[in-house]
Amino acid sequence: MSTPLGLWIALTVWAIPLEPADVGGRARALLADEKFRFCAEEDFPLTSREARWCPVIGDESPRCPALVESCKRPRGELDFRSGGGQANMRRVVEESDDERETGVSNGEADAESGASASDGSTTGPTARDGQTTTGEHASESLETGSGQPDETGDFGGETSATGEDADTKGSDEADNKQKPDSKKRDKRRVERDEDDEPPDPPSAGEAGFGQVLFWLVIAAGALAILLLLWRARLGLASEDEEAEGPGEDDVVDEEEALPHTPARGPVLTDVEALLVRAEGAAAAGDYRRAIADCHAALLRNLEHAELITVIRSRTNGEYVRDLAGQRELQGRVAEVMRDVDRAQYGSDPQRPMFDRVLKRVRTLVGTGLQNMLLAVVATTIFACAWGSGGGKWKTYRWEFSPSGHGGLIELGETYGIELKERVLPVVDIDRQTSTLVLVNGADPEDEEWERLAEWVDEGGNLIVAGSVGSLPDWLGARRVYDSREVAPLSVAKPHWRDFGQPDLRVPGGDKLYLDDATPLLLHDDGEDVYAATKQIGSGSVITLADDMLLTNAALAVGDNAAFSLALLSSLGGDAEYIDASAWVGADTPFATVGRTELLPALLQGLALLVLLYLWRGVLFGAPRDPPRKSRRAFSQHVEAVGVHYGRAKVSRHAVRLYAAWAMARLRDGAGSSRRGLLPLAEMLAERCGRDETEIMRILVEADAATKESLTTDDPGRGDLEDLQLMQKLAVLVERAGGTR
């Protein structure tokens, strides 16, 4: 470390009271919180990677007591399919026997001998680690010539330590060659998805009673559906048998009639509500009202099915005849109507009649309900099957898991150190951010690395912890595989003054190969480097072999928490971090819905809405009889014809027709043998008591109108004068008594 940086770190560190004992005490109090379930639940399903802390923890952990027991339990797996990325991640609680054996043996092997056998089934962030560290592991193997087997469980299932793999994956050059120039992140995501694919759900035979119970529930649901279908299918047959049983003669007439119950409240159109009300009325002994409600329910149901239109002036017989197109249904409805008629207009109904009517009505209206019930059951089972994934999963918050960083964040807050997730793009980083921490899964793109280099050069502090993709050369360090199981760490001597000699322990796995960086933390052999630092321009870079030191599990061990906080504090206190959660967002809204497992629920809701619409339609208003079509009066027809003439501007044509009719009437009424208009005018003047000249003028105009050609283009004297002529003629016809 250069002198200015060391001085700056020293000044900053000593300015903040980060006593290891104090930090350890606070870490213990923090881990006692229930949200750190791995410290409270002895059956917490640790992943293989998290289980690497087991040998570090040992047989006793005052800060995280349950972790010791969890280490003895079978390993768990992460389920990326459950959605939520790292924020919420499901872990399978029980594994198959084979997996359990593997997991336990791994843990034991790790604890005892550090053997590198692994189950290779780990998914999630650790798998990402494996993808990016494989080459470096191989590289280390090549460089050291150790040929040690790779720990495939944590670093990729495909990884092996063979020379062939090393040739293809081992070197940085080879690693770089593997990097696609474009859409690298998408490709990595695809690879990650493939690796993250959880194992197939264990079969009932493998998973014990829980699985058997699950499949029993599924089978029971399927059987219930089949049973409902069978009953719906055979409902008609049973109804027919029942119809042949008790007849109308079974009804007992009673002399004492029940008082007629007046109409109660608003008119109900809901079928189920009517049936409920019917049962209530029956319970109260008002069977006539109860049957009336059943009757109403049946009518409403038929109306909703658009088979009939309920009108108050229609009789039951008419409703039955409306169903002529469906003979089967018609017969069944007619049976109900017979009982209803008897109850309403015949003898007083009794309980047997009500039961019979209710049963028949329920059978008739139950089709829609049955369909809805079937849909609900089916979609519920579907949703359960979808959501459960066929295994026994539990959801844990990733940030408070052993691999999360929530503990360090909260602990930092108690010391005024703010560590928050970066939500802005890396390329937009500026001096507002003093420190940036890249932890597992951050995977910056090339251009982002370039921007980070510029930012560091301008004075930013970058901490690269764990697998963050291929490390660029300018960091001055490369990550290589390390076989040790427990890695006691010590602060490099130049930094003793800054950090003292804290008790640092992390799981083994990786170490750094330095190019031009200087060591910060060393393994217990004093040679292998776990963390290194490099001054670049006005800023600095600190590279850690992995992010174990920053995880929640690290808080349970030694002075890890104190050192991490001191490190952050030395870089200015406030920092931003980027982890895999930056890339776990769904590509499409549909994928988001799928990850949240809301798809079955949404489909279920949609199906219910469709069924509700089909069943109930849009009839939510108060029922009313449809408006009756009334006949128009004759005068309205005449008026309509007149309006048509007016719109067509053919008033002259109307005058010609009317004048011809009026002249014929007037001549008939005159009864004179004399021909011509003059005798007619004389007679009309005498009969009407009007001026003969005026009448003659009217007759001449009318006569002229009658003689006009149909094809004449003469528009006449205008609509108003044509109308006046017709009115004058009408008066003449009326006074002459020739209208009829």
């Binding site: 003669d249 008119v267 108050r312 008629d341 207009y345 015949g346 003898s347 009756r628 006949r631 004759f634």
Partner: protein, 322 residues
Amino acid sequence: MSQAKQVAATFEQIQQQVGRVLLGQQEVVEHVLIGIFARGHVLLEGVPGLGKTLLVRSLARVLGCESKRIQFTPDLMPSDVTGGNMYNQKADQFEFMPGPVFTQLLLADEINRAPAKTQSALLEAMQERSVTTDGVTRKLPRPFFVLATQNPLESQGTYPLPEAQLDRFLLKIDVSHPTREVEKQILANYVRGFDADRLAEAGLEQLLSAEQLVALQQSCAGIRIDDALLDYITDIVGRTRGHRSIFVGASPRASISLLKATRVRAAMFGRDFVIPDDVKMLAPAILRHRIVLHPDAEFEGITPDDCVRSILAEAPVPKTAV
């Protein structure tokens, strides 16, 4: 078996028997039977040749009743219907010679061809079921039932029945032409040797005696009718008096007729109670000849059946659950 079901079974048998010789007129037969069992008279309106006489003869044979037919003509005298006192030289006294009205089933064919005076002679017989001549009133045999016909097409030389007389008819039934298929069946019947003049050979059986018929009439009168249905009948008949197209509405006799007919119809379907459907189904036949339309309505082509239909479409059915 309940009494109503017995009546229904009898009705069914009668309809089957009559249906063997009178094809395609089930509704007419049903209404005529309702008229008989309601102790009413029926006016059939239809062109000649639709089987009206055959219907009467068939019914008479099946019901075990005596039947006679009067062909109404313009020169028909009242005494030709009722009969009159004739001088018996041997006995040296006037003796009453009963006319054709003294029967149980009387077919008054083309009743509107006789003058009003002759029609009136039948009026007393229909209403009072008795005939008065020379101050002596003679009861007609029981049951007594008039089945009158009139031709709706011819108007020359006819005397339309006055409203008062029309009101005496319980039902007015429009007899329409048979369908093509039914007409072919009629022909096929004749091809097989059916002869309308020899009903005995057609296998028609007498199902009832006159006494049994009267007993059934009385049992029909005991059919229960709910008070709400009385309101319904009153409402329907009352609406004929306020209808915009009707000049003279139906009389209370129409309400009584409707009540009687609905009871029979209920029994016909095996019920011991009347339902609104009975009222609705019979209202046109009961009311169509009892209302007089406004001239304007007639001019517009509105028929009494249109008015009755509109009334039935407006009158709410009692005790409806919705």
